[in-house]
Amino acid sequence: MATLIMQGMGLATGFSSAHYKIAHPGSCRTLPVKHVKQFTSNVSLFFVLSVYESNFSERRVSFFVIRSDGSLPSGLNGDKSRRGGLTTNAVSTKQEKAAASTASNPGHELLLFEALREGLEEEMDRDPNVCVMGEDVGHYGGSYKVTKGLASKYGDLRVLDTPIAENSFTGMAIGAAMTGLRPIVEGMNMGFLLLAFNQISNNCGMLHYTSGGQFKIPVVIRGPGGVGKQLGAEHSQRLESYFQSIPGIQMVACSTPYNAKGLMKAAIRSDNPVILFEHVLLYNLKERIPDEEYVLNLEEAEMVRKGEHATILTYSRMRYHVMQAAKTLVNKGYDPEVIDIRSLKPFDLHTIGNSVKKTHRVLIVEECMRTGGIGASLTASINENFHDYLDAPILCLSSQDVPTPYAGVLEEWTVVQPAQIVAAFEQFCR
C-alpha cells in the first residue's frame, strides 16, 4: 500500500509559502530548469531549490525505516545516482515534462476545508466502502462545511447524520470497520471525542492486537481541535496529548490545504486507525494545490524552511506563528530551520534526526499544554536518540497548563505567540 503513496514534501511545501514572503539574503542556489516544478510562479525560487537538495530526497523507498543514526538499511541506498530517476514530488508529472508544463495547468486554488472535502470525495468515489458519520455531516453539510454536498451525492447511509452520542457512534464506526467498511468519524470538535475515549483506546487501538491480527480497524477519526478565537475552555482542547499513548493508532496533524488533502487520502487508505487533527482557525487558509491526484506519507514530516542555526519543530497552527517569527528572525540575521512534524504518532525521527545533526539545537513550539503534550514526548524522544548531537538542552514552548480562558487578552497569553518564539530563539542561539 505504501507504494501508492508518493513522497512529496519538498517542492510543494516550498510552494505553500505562498502566503508569506521572506527575503532571504544568502544561499540562493541555482538549479537547472528541469528541477523546477510548475507552481513556482508565485513563490520565491530559493525555497524550491533549497528544498530539493534535502536529505529526504534520498528516501525513495516503498516503506521507510526510521533509523536514529540516519543510515538507511541496505537495499535502500541513498547515493546520488538514484536522485534523477524517481519522482520525489507528490505531483505525478514527470521531471522531463516539468519544463514544458510550467505555463500550463498550474493547479487550482482552494480553502483548507475544501481541500479536505476534495480528498474525501475522491476517496469516496474510489472505494464504495468509505463512509462518513458524525453530527450534522449530512443534510447540514458539516459544521465546518467539510462534508457539504456529499449527502446529496452519496446518500444518507454513506454520509450519516448521527445523534449526539459520540461514544456509541464512534463504537459503531469501529464495529463497522471490523467487517471491512472504512468509516470516517467526524467529531464536531475534537474535545467531544473525549466521550469516545474508551472506544478509541480499547477498541480502535487494541483490537488488532488482542484478536491476534484477525481484525483490522481502518477507521479515520477527524475533527477540529486546538485553541480558537475565544471559544472557551471546553471547546479549545488539544486532544493529541491525551491520545498519544494509545498503542495501535496513528496521529497526524494537517496545516495547509496541500497536506490536508494528502493526509486525508492517506488516512483513508491506511489500514490502521488514524486520528487526523485539524485546527479550527485553519479552515479558511487558501492555497493552490495540484490538479492531479496525490497522496502524502502519513509518517513523514514536512521541511518548511531550511536553515543552519537551529531547528524549530512545530505542527498545525503553531507553524504559522513560527513562520511569522521566522520572518523577524531572518531580518535579524538568524537562519532557523522549520519543520512541520505532521506525524504526531509516530514521530518522523529520520527527518528530525537529520536536522538535529545539522543544526545541533532544537526548539519545539506546540499548542499542547506543557504537561504531557506532544512537545514533552518529542523532547524525550530526541534526547534519547540524538543526545550526542545536541549542543544545548531542547527548548519547548507550549501553552500554559490552564483551561483556555474566554477573555481575548488572556487567551492570547495561553498560547505561544511569535514574539515569544523570537525571544526564545535569540536566547537559544546566543
Binding site: 463504537g171 464495529g175 474508551n198 477498541n203 488488532h208
Partner: protein, 391 residues
C-alpha cells in the same frame, strides 16, 4: 480437533466412533418433531409473540445435549486450570448459561454476526472455535485463537463472524450496532446478535446505540443475558426497573426462559425475522450462572448456596434436554451418559494438548500493533540495541 456438533452442518463426521455407532443403530432422524416449552414468551410491543411449540429434530436435540455437555466440561476444566494457576488474570465462566449459546447458534447461520462481552468461551465454541485453541488462549500459548495476546476476554473468530470478546462492560453494544450497520450498508440479509448482561443494561452507550439502531432500522438483536447479578450486585439493587426486555421503550422486547435451549432457539428465530424487517428488538434471556462473576469471585457472598443448588436442580439446561430426549425415547440413559463421558474425554485431551503448546515468541510482543504499514524500529529498554522492526 474437538468441535461442536451443529445441526446445521453434517454432524455424523464429528461424532466419536462409539456413540456414532450407538446413535446410528437408533432411528436418529431429521424428521421434525415438536416440543412444548414450559414457559410462555412475554412480549413487549409485540402483537404476536412466538408460539410455545418448537420445531426440532432428534438430531438437533442430541446435538444440543452433546454441545452443552462439552461446554459444561470446558468451563469446569477452566476452573481447575485457574486454580492450578495455569490460567491467570480474569476468567469468567459460562456454566449454567449454555442454553443461550446453543439455542442461538441453532437459529442462526454463520453469516449472522455475534458479539458479546467477556463471558465468551462457549460462544466461541459454538461459532466454530476449537477446544484446543480456546484452552491455549486461556493459558496464553501461541496456538491460542488470539496468539496468546488476548486472553480469556478476547476470543474472536473472524471467518465465522464471531466478533468477540470485550472487556469493558457495554462497549460491545455500539460495536454490535456497527456490525448491523455494515450489514445494512452492504445490503446483506443477515442480522447481528449483540449480547450483554443485566449489569450492562444501565450503560448509556447501550441506549445511544439502541436509539441509532431504531432510527436507521438496523438488523440488530440485543440479547440481555440476565443472570440476576452484575458481579456482586443483584439486579434489583442496580436497576430501578428489572424488566430488561421493556427497557427499550419503543423497541419491541421479548422475555425468554434462557435455561431452555429450545425456547432460546424459537426466540432467536423470531427475532431474526423481526430484525430483518423492522429493526432492533431486545431479547431478555432469563438465565443463571453457577460460578461467581469470575474466578476471583467466590459467588457466595451475595447469594445463598441454596439458591444455586435450587436452580441446578430445577432449571439446569442440560437436565432439561436430557428429560426431553428421554421422554421422547430418542436415546437411552446409558447413551447420554456415554456422551457426557466422551465430552469429558475430549476436553481433557484438548487441555493436555494445550498444556504442551509453546509460549509465544518474544518478537510477538511487537506484531499486530499496526497492519503492515510502518517500518518502525523499536528499541529495547536500554535504547541502544534495535529489538525489532514493527511490521
Amino acid at each position: 480437533m474437538a468441535q461442536l456438533t451443529n445441526s446445521r452442518r453434517a454432524t455424523t463426521t464429528l461424532l466419536k466412533p462409539i456413540s456414532a455407532a450407538l446413535f446410528s443403530t437408533r432411528h436418529l432422524s431429521t424428521e421434525t418433531m415438536t416440543v412444548e416449552t414450559s414457559l410462555p414468551f412475554i412480549p413487549h410491543n409485540i402483537d404476536h409473540p412466538p408460539s410455545q411449540t418448537v420445531e426440532t429434530t432428534p438430531q438437533e436435540l442430541l446435538a444440543f445435549f452433546r454441545d452443552m455437555a462439552v461446554m459444561r466440561r470446558m468451563e469446569i476444566a477452566a476452573d481447575t486450570l485457574y486454580k492450578s494457576r495455569l490460567i491467570r488474570g480474569f476468567c469468567h465462566l459460562y456454566d449454567g448459561q449454555e442454553a443461550v449459546a446453543v439455542g442461538m447458534e441453532a437459529a442462526t447461520t454463520r453469516k449472522d454476526a455475534i458479539i458479546t462481552a467477556y463471558r465468551d468461551h462457549c460462544l466461541y465454541l459454538t461459532r466454530g472455535g476449537t477446544l484446543f485453541e480456546a484452552f491455549s488462549e486461556l493459558m496464553g500459548r501461541k496456538d491460542g485463537c488470539s496468539k496468546g495476546k488476548g486472553g480469556s476476554m478476547h476470543f474472536y473468530n473472524k471467518p465465522e463472524r464471531f466478533y468477540g470478546g470485550h472487556g469493558i462492560v457495554g462497549a460491545q453494544v455500539p460495536l454490535g450496532c456497527g456490525l448491523a450497520f455494515a450489514q445494512k450498508y452492504s445490503k446483506e440479509d443477515n442480522v447481528t446478535f449483540v449480547l450483554y448482561g443485566d449489569g450492562a443494561s444501565n450503560q448509556g452507550q447501550l441506549f445511544e446505540a439502541l436509539n441509532m439502531a431504531a432510527l436507521w432500522t438496523l438488523p440488530a438483536i440485543l440479547v440481555c443475558e440476565n443472570n440476576k447479578y452484575g458481579m456482586g450486585t443483584a439486579g434489583w439493587r442496580a436497576s430501578k426497573s428489572s424488566t430488561y426486555y421493556k427497557k427499550g421503550d419503543y423497541v419491541p422486547g421479548l422475555k425468554v426462559d434462557g435455561m431452555d435451549a429450545l425456547a432460546v432457539k424459537q426466540a432467536c428465530k423470531f427475532a431474526k425475522d423481526h430484525a430483518l424487517k423492522n429493526g432492533p428488538i431486545i431479547l431478555e434471556m432469563d438465565t443463571y450462572r453457577y460460578h461467581g462473576h469470575s474466578m476471583s469471585d467466590p459467588g457466595s457472598t451475595y447469594r445463598t448456596r441454596d439458591e444455586i443448588s435450587g436452580i441446578r436442580q430445577e432449571r439446569d439446561p442440560i437436565e432439561r434436554i436430557r428429560k426431553v430426549i428421554l421422554s421422547h425415547n430418542l436415546a437411552t440413559e446409558k447413551e447420554l451418559k456415554d456422551t457426557e463421558k466422551e465430552a469429558r474425554k475430549e476436553v481433557d485431551e484438548a487441555v493436555a494438548k494445550a498444556k504442551d503448546s509453546p509460549w509465544p515468541d518474544p518478537s510477538e510482543l511487537f506484531t499486530n500493533v499496526y497492519v503492515k504499514d510502518l517500518g518502525l524500529e523499536v528499541f529495547g529498554v536500554d535504547r541502544k540495541k534495535i529489538r525489532t522492526v514493527l511490521p
